[in-house]
């Protein structure tokens, strides 16, 4: 079991493709009232375009061995924000450690290569993410809607989503 710093050092050592930086929780600046700091867990930032290669690299590295893709999801932080966050959570069965990964996907052109080649587990998650946020996963073998009806309009988990007034004649008021 490794802590986050050790994992990050190892990531740098193996030159994991697309690795940008690490973001750790920090205390807020007591002088600056607007800066409240950040709580929670530490994560690494990666390039979305290299996400698949990154996953393969950390999967195949013996010291990291992140062999399970626990979660793949996205977050729309704000209506004003220009990016979606792509959140990935990896789990290593052998070592028992986790890694949280974040990638910034521009809202203007939300296209990410599919990660199904690295982990088959990504398949359903990508389908859900695609319908909920409108992020296209290029190369997903079955890019149908998974939870929403096939003809659903809009992407419900976006912050600027407007709830439909009616659906097939059913009033949603």
């Amino acid at each position: 079991m490794k802590d986050f710093d050790e994992i990050y050092q190892r990531l740098e050592a193996i030159k994991a493709p697309g690795l940008l930086s690490a973001d750790r929780p920090r205390e807020g600046d007591p002088e600056d009232k607007t800066d409240k700091g950040r709580a929670g867990e530490a994560f690494v930032l990666i390039e979305p375009a290299a996400a698949k290669e990154f996953l393969i690299a950390v999967r195949d590295d013996a010291e990291l061995a992140f062999d399970i893709l626990a979660d793949l999801t996205a977050t729309d932080p704000d209506t004003e924000d220009e990016n979606f966050w792509l959140n990935l959570h990896l789990l290593s069965l052998g070592h028992g450690h986790r890694l949280a990964i974040k990638a910034m996907v521009p809202k203007a052109d939300p296209v990410v290569p599919s990660m199904v080649d690295a982990h088959m587990a990504a398949h359903f998650h990508e389908r859900e993410c695609a319908e909920m946020f409108g992020i296209t996963f290029e190369g997903n073998p079955d890019p149908r809607n998974i939870l929403l009806p096939d003809d659903w309009e809009g992407h419900p988990l976006r912050k600027d989503y407007e709830f439909p007034k009616e659906y097939h004649g059913i009033s949603c008021e």
Binding site: A39, L93, P156
Partner: protein, 408 residues
């Protein structure tokens, strides 16, 4: 790359003269005979079907009794839990967590509470931790009882289902006494638990443990080692360890394939660190005893064994529980500092992950639920082709899917 079952190529269009007399079918097609030949039959298993344990729909293609392809269709029970999480206050989301995996609501409460606590960084009193553990493990027993009982039902054995419900009824009565609800508990809350256990409750839990051990032996003799049951489940739906890891399976599905991994032991949360170090319980693994490693029987066996391991954990907690407060220092209206956290806990079905992101307000920025069933059900499309129709029911049952959780 694994294949996804695409519908078969339509046969080459032949121009055939339809006789005048051919009647029109209700579907609008004209009835005529293309050729005397057999063709695959596409059947909708679900959304209303006894084998799908809810409103899941599996489109299966069969050649006689042999399934040649299957496609999972989800979303019939989609209730926008994640969107609701972005619209209600932190504590108000708690009742919604009861409702995705409605068979193990305690564990869902726990997962959500732990995720929010991870962002907030609050201290949980010792008694609350142990009460949480007892409730989560009791609920794990209840959930496995349903999984096992309904699996018997899938295979065609009715009676074990009722025996399982009898014990689960007692478990629900216990929960009713501690929190007032039988299914949607909302008991474990951010910072601790809602109520202290009523007088005599812990004694009754102990009695439940004693009786359950006897009854467990009956389930084992009645169904688990029954020759017909073994014949129906061994060597069926084999998930190899590599496949299990690739599909991101967790929980009994993963351990059924022989991979020794349990979040409670390997990434401990709450009191599990202590419990694991004390060597209170073992992690049961599938060993391919009756057939191949990772078959349906192994998965069922793991679940059945896990019930007994949970009993051991409960006994340990009952042994060292002391009086004390049951809730930490939590304000009435929660304000969670900005930040984000992902916490995965060992649900009866696998890793239940909650990813919560806060921007410092009263409402979550993102409240993501990683339901274990959602990930486990993905493997069905791979397992179904090449099995018998009856086996497909056995395989679906062995994934122990709860539709409330896949669709959320």
């Amino acid at each position: 790359m694994t294949e996804i079952n695409t519908p078969p190529e339509p046969p080459e269009a032949k121009t055939i003269e339809i006789p005048e007399k051919a009647r029109t079918l209700p579907s609008g097609e004209r009835e005529f005979m293309l050729d005397v030949s057999t063709s695959d039959l596409e059947v909708n298993m679900g959304p209303q079907h006894p084998a799908t344990h809810g409103v899941m729909r599996i489109l299966i293609r069969t050649d006689g009794e042999v399934v040649t392809g299957g496609q999972v269709h989800l979303g019939y029970l989609h209730r926008c839990a994640e969107k609701i999480g972005e619209n209600v206050e932190w504590l108000q989301y708690l009742p919604y967590t009861d409702r995705y995996d409605y068979l193990s609501a305690m564990n869902n409460n726990l997962g959500y509470s732990l995720a929010v606590e991870a962002v907030m960084g609050v201290e949980i009193p010792r008694r609350a931790t142990l009460l949480r553990t007892i409730c989560a493990e009791l609920n794990r027993i209840g959930s496995h009882l349903i999984a096992f009982g309904t699996y018997g039902l899938d295979i065609g054995a009715f009676t074990p289902f009722f025996y399982c419900f009898r014990e689960r009824e007692w478990m629900m009565a216990l929960f009713e006494k501690i929190c007032g609800a039988r299914l949607t508990y909302s008991y474990i809350r951010i910072g601790g638990v809602f109520n202290d256990a009523p007088v005599g409750w812990l004694k009754e839990v102990e009695r439940f443990c004693d009786v359950f051990e006897e009854k467990w032996q009956e389930y084992y003799d009645l169904l688990v080692v029954n020759h017909i049951f073994v014949q129906r489940t061994a060597k069926i739906g084999v998930i190899t360890p590599e496949m299990a890891v690739d599909y991101g399976l967790t929980g009994p599905m993963l351990r059924g394939s022989g991979i020794d991994f349990d979040l409670r032991r390997d990434m401990p949360y709450m009191a599990y660190d202590e419990i694991s170090k004390a060597g209170v319980y073992d992690v049961p693994l599938g060993r391919g005893e009756k057939g191949e490693l990772g078959d349906c029987w192994d998965r069922v066996y793991v679940r059945v064994q896990e019930m007994m391991e949970s009993i051991k954990i409960i006994r340990w907690c009952l042994g060292c529980i002391e009086d004390g407060p049951v809730i930490g220092d939590i304000p009435k209206v929660l304000k969670v500092p900005p930040g984000e956290a992902y916490v995965g806990i060992e649900n009866p079905r696998g890793e239940l992950g909650h990813y919560v992101a806060s921007d410092g307000g009263k409402v979550a920025k993102r409240c993501r639920v990683r339901g274990p069933s959602f990930c486990n059900v993905a493997v069905l499309e791979k397992l179904l082709p090449g099995t018998f129709l009856a086996d497909s029911v056995a395989i679906i049952g062995s994934t122990d899917v709860v539709i409330g959780e896949t669709d959320r």
